[in-house]
């Protein structure tokens, strides 16, 4: 591992899907780190490759997937070189996943207590009684009321929110190092969503797991993530801390995403939208894949792919606009407002740090 703090390092990952029409280049050179204990959000449209990335980590890709290059380092071992059998023991034990739809990710014919206990029996060889006892504890932990009486119920006897709690209980029963949450609240109502997100934060503190959170809801990202990676057309186009991405975004695609979501304050006739549709990854365009939909596209965008430019130690964006010779552009109004807020926050931070000095002096005196 390059860095002590990392639990997972993905490097130069490329995944193609073989179809009758040709190779769909779903992941085109993706690299990122997951730090211990953090929540990394991956955002992007459908087809941008967020789910393929995590499925590749889990070794759950469809049979026509072809991993052409890259490595996924977990505890100094490359997951891509593991046998199916090894991956099976890693899944559910070291790395677990919560899926989007709690209606389809549970076995309708199995009692939920057994479903929650199953990972313990399979991975740890635990006896059934002991495993069920732990399952009961887990049910209480994820907030299933009246757990003792419900342990022998079937999934259809629970509401959507409760089912998602069961799915979370199954994923966390072995205290995994990494939890992948693929749109875990998209199928739920806002009030239930709030409960589930709070539960995930609470449990993350309790069992100190690292989370990869996939979603297209930027509101959820703002509340959950420590760091954010924005994906477009099979690539990460920008990544940084949650504040950097929301208040000081640099990539025009991130601008578009942030502006096209109405906030509760926005009004006016026209909602800024990103024109057009994502490119066909059977034949990805030359240069920057976003160029065709990008009002800020430069001539170089259609010819050469932009490399990552460094904005800060934690913030990188792949857009030619950050090149020293690029023309200065004004981002959309909403983004300018966000940047202004960011500047003020930075000022506040500096101001907050100043009164810290006398406190230290006091301590010295004591």
């Amino acid at each position: 591992m390059e860095n002590e703090k990392n639990i997972l390092e993905v490097r130069n990952l490329q995944v193609n899907f073989k179809t009758y029409a040709g190779d769909v280049k779903a992941i085109r050179n993706v690299s990122f780190d997951l730090r211990k204990g953090e929540t990394l959000a991956i955002v992007g449209e459908s087809g941008s490759g967020k789910s393929v990335t995590t499925r590749t980590i889990m070794g759950l890709n469809a049979r026509n997937a072809d991993i052409t290059s890259g490595s996924i380092l977990y505890k100094d071992q490359d997951l891509l070189k593991k046998s199916d059998k090894d991956m099976e023991s890693i899944r559910g034990q070291d790395i677990a996943e919560i899926f989007q739809d709690p209606m389809t990710s549970l076995d309708p014919t199995m009692k939920i207590g057994k479903q929650i206990a199953e990972p313990l029996m399979v991975h740890k060889g635990m006896k059934k009684e002991k495993a069920l006892a732990q399952a009961l504890e887990m049910m209480k932990l994820v907030g299933i009321t009246d757990a003792e009486n419900r342990i022998n119920d079937y999934p259809h006897q629970f509401s959507g929110g409760m089912r998602q709690r069961i799915v979370i209980a199954i994923a966390l029963i072995n205290y995994p190092e990494i939890l992948i949450a693929d749109e875990p609240t998209t199928a739920l109502d806002v009030t239930i969503q709030a409960q589930i997100l709070n539960l995930m934060k609470e449990l993350q503190d309790k069992i100190s797991t690292s989370i990869i959170f996939i979603t297209h809801d930027l509101g959820v990202v703002a509340g959950m993530a420590d760091r954010v990676a924005v994906m477009y057309a099979g690539k990460i186009v920008e990544y940084g801390t949650v504040d950097e991405i929301f208040y000081n975004p640099k990539h025009p695609y991130t601008w578009g995403l942030l502006s096209s979501m109405p906030t509760l304050d926005s009004s006016g006739d026209e909602l800024p939208s990103i024109p057009g549709t994502p490119p066909d990854l059977l034949d990805p365009p030359k240069g920057d894949a976003f160029a065709a939909r990008n009002a800020y596209a430069l001539k170089v965008d259609t010819e050469q792919e932009p490399p990552f430019f460094k904005v800060s130690d934690t913030h990188y964006a792949a857009t030619w606009l950050l090149h020293p010779e690029a023309p200065k552009v004004t981002p959309p109004a909403q983004i300018v407002a966000r940047q202004k807020k960011y500047a003020e926050m930075q000022k506040d931070l500096v101001a907050q740090q100043r009164p810290a000095v006398p406190v230290e002096e006091e301590e010295e005196q004591q």
Partner: protein
């Protein structure tokens, strides 16, 4: 929107829609709701799943026989349309846009036939050339290309399919369109496109929308007025800006407090307000009361003072 001179295009009066009536599993999906929709406005209907918002929409377009209550469209009771002509006119004037752009288009029909189905049924086209022209115009209106007309639905993306669904609804020149979660199956960047299209069509053709959704920020953006439903009942109706800035009912407050906002600073301090719905079922007689001008809240006689007090504190009532 000028409500002083606005006339009502739709009046829903004490609508009840029960399923499995008289059986052990009777469901009161919609339980005595009343509201009006004015010509040219967008009325947003929000609520959680199971709150009855979709059932309300379906009852209005008469996909169900209401258990009781009346629905007046242009002043005429929808239930009393006995003659074929009346029914046909009603079906032309009121159209629907569906949630799932994949399930709502027949995969074995070409786009032109999907869009023209309403034109054919209502004999709106003089001849084949007129039909083709109408279809091409409609496709253009919704931002598609006329070359698209001989393709099949699977050749389109979700956003484009939703545009086809909108073109189909517009084909019969409707006055009132029910959009049931029209954007929730679409990507964020495409949602904005479809919402902008719906707003543009409203301006150009004077359409009235009933916009049903659970995405509260998008509902606020598109709606003039909003109704909040819970357990089959309408709890609060007000102008969209007002209901978001000054919700009076506890449930509305709770619902709004749960909306995640794309602003990390805000999210760090956001407190969710928990709502205990048990008070709603204490058997007291409740109905919508106009607490502040054009701001209705479901209350019993004792609660009116409390809500009036809240409205005073929010300066919704001047005195």
């Amino acid at each position: 929107m000028d409500y002083e001179n606005a006339d009502k295009i739709l009046e829903v009066k004490h609508l009840k829609q029960y399923f499995n009536v008289g059986k052990a599993d009777e469901v009161r999906a919609v339980d005595d709701i009343s509201f009006d929709i004015y010509r040219g406005e967008t009325f947003g209907l929000v609520g959680e799943s199971g709150s009855g918002k979709t059932t309300t929409g379906r009852a209005i377009i008469h996909l169900y026989e209401p258990t009781s209550g009346e629905i007046l469209f242009n002043g005429k009771n929808v239930d009393n349309f006995k003659s074929k002509a009346d029914q046909r006119e009603f079906r032309q004037d009121m159209q629907m846009i569906f949630q799932d752009p994949y399930a709502s288009l027949n995969p074995r029909m070409k786009v032109k036939d999907i869009v023209a189905e309403g034109i054919d049924i209502n004999h709106l086209a003089k001849d084949d050339a007129d039909r083709t022209k109408r279809v091409e115009d409609l496709l253009e209106t919704v931002g598609l290309n006329k070359d698209h007309s001989s393709r099949y639905p699977h050749e389109f993306s979700g956003g484009q399919r939703q545009r086809i669904g909108i073109a189909r609804a517009l084909a019969v020149d409707p006055k009132f369109v029910i959009a049931d979660e029209p954007i929730s199956a679409l990507d964020v960047s495409i949602q904005a496109q479809v919402v902008n299209l719906m707003k543009k069509l409203q301006r150009e053709q004077g359409l009235t929308y009933l916009f049903i959704a659970h995405d509260l920020s998008m509902v606020k953006y598109i709606s003039d007025r909003i109704g909040v439903m819970h357990y089959g009942r309408m709890l609060e109706i007000a102008d969209s800006d007002e209901i978001y800035a000054h919700p009076l009912h506890d449930y509305t407050k709770s619902l709004l407090s749960a909306v995640p906002v794309p602003d990390p600073e805000f999210e760090r301090t956001r407190e969710e307000i928990h709502y205990d719905g048990s008070g709603e079922n204490d058997g007291k007689e409740r109905h919508l009361v106009e607490i502040a001008p054009r701001h209705w809240v479901r209350a019993d006689d004792d609660e009116i003072d409390m809500y009036t007090q809240r409205a005073h504190e929010a300066s919704l009532i001047r005195k």
